[in-house]
Amino acid sequence: SAVISQKPSRDICQRGTSLTIQCQVDSQVTMMFWYRQQPGQSLTLIATANQGSEATYESGFVIDKFPISRPNLTFSTLTVSNMSPEDSSIYLCSVEAAGVFFTDTQYFGPGTRLTVL
């Protein structure tokens, strides 16, 4: 399994500001994913981040609002830009276990709980 940490664990931000969330994995992984979980709801994929290429965004999510970096095989950041109260959510990164063959199992970080006032 992969051990994943996220920073910050929670934050309260003002409208119009930006927050960068960090995701660190204890092993090299090819694929990293960023999800959003709005209050009382399920998880929705924001984007897939592979090292060495641009992130691939899902419908309804754009790079200007959620820029992502993936500088190496163990780290990624997600920025929530120009925040509004509607961005209040839990943001989670996940990875698929590394290896020659895909294991398919995806592990999740502890999440970042964001509140926008």
Binding site: S1, T30, M31, F33, Q37, Q41, S42, L43, T44, L45, T48, I90, L92, S94, E96, F102, D104, T105, Q106, Y107, F108, G109, P110, G111, R113
Partner: protein
């Protein structure tokens, strides 16, 4: 839109009873995974079942998969108060692909 639908949305049982949660999906899949989430925290991976498998066990957990009906079930036997959490199913359409999550079942186990 979410591919998966889970029922029930909420389930309340007594400690020691069994809990069964169901998940349905719409498209063909490569694998289906079950997760637990405690109080809005991170997701804990419980079990993965592949499309060519029909049943898997892990401790008190039993997962079945019926690809003809596009459905899966998670059974927790001899439930404990610590099992109180939200349970999500998630489907992967291909090896290494993103997951699509169901709406989740909130399980409450009363001591």
């Amino acid at each position: 839109s979410q591919q998966g639908e889970e029922d029930p949305q909420a389930l309340s049982i007594q400690e020691g009873e069994n809990a069964t949660m169901n998940c349905s999906y719409k498209t063909s899949i490569n694998n289906l995974q079950w997760y637990r989430q405690n109080s809005g925290r991170g997701l804990v991976h419980l079990i993965l079942i592949r499309s060519n498998e029909r049943e898997k066990h892990s401790g008190r957990l039993r997962v079945t998969l019926d690809t003809s009906k596009k459905s899966s079930s998670l059974l927790i036997t001899a439930s404990r108060a610590a099992d109180t959490a939200s349970y999500f199913c998630a489907t992967g359409r291909a090896s290494g692909s993103r997951l699509t999550f169901g709406e989740g079942t909130q399980l409450t186990v009363n001591p």
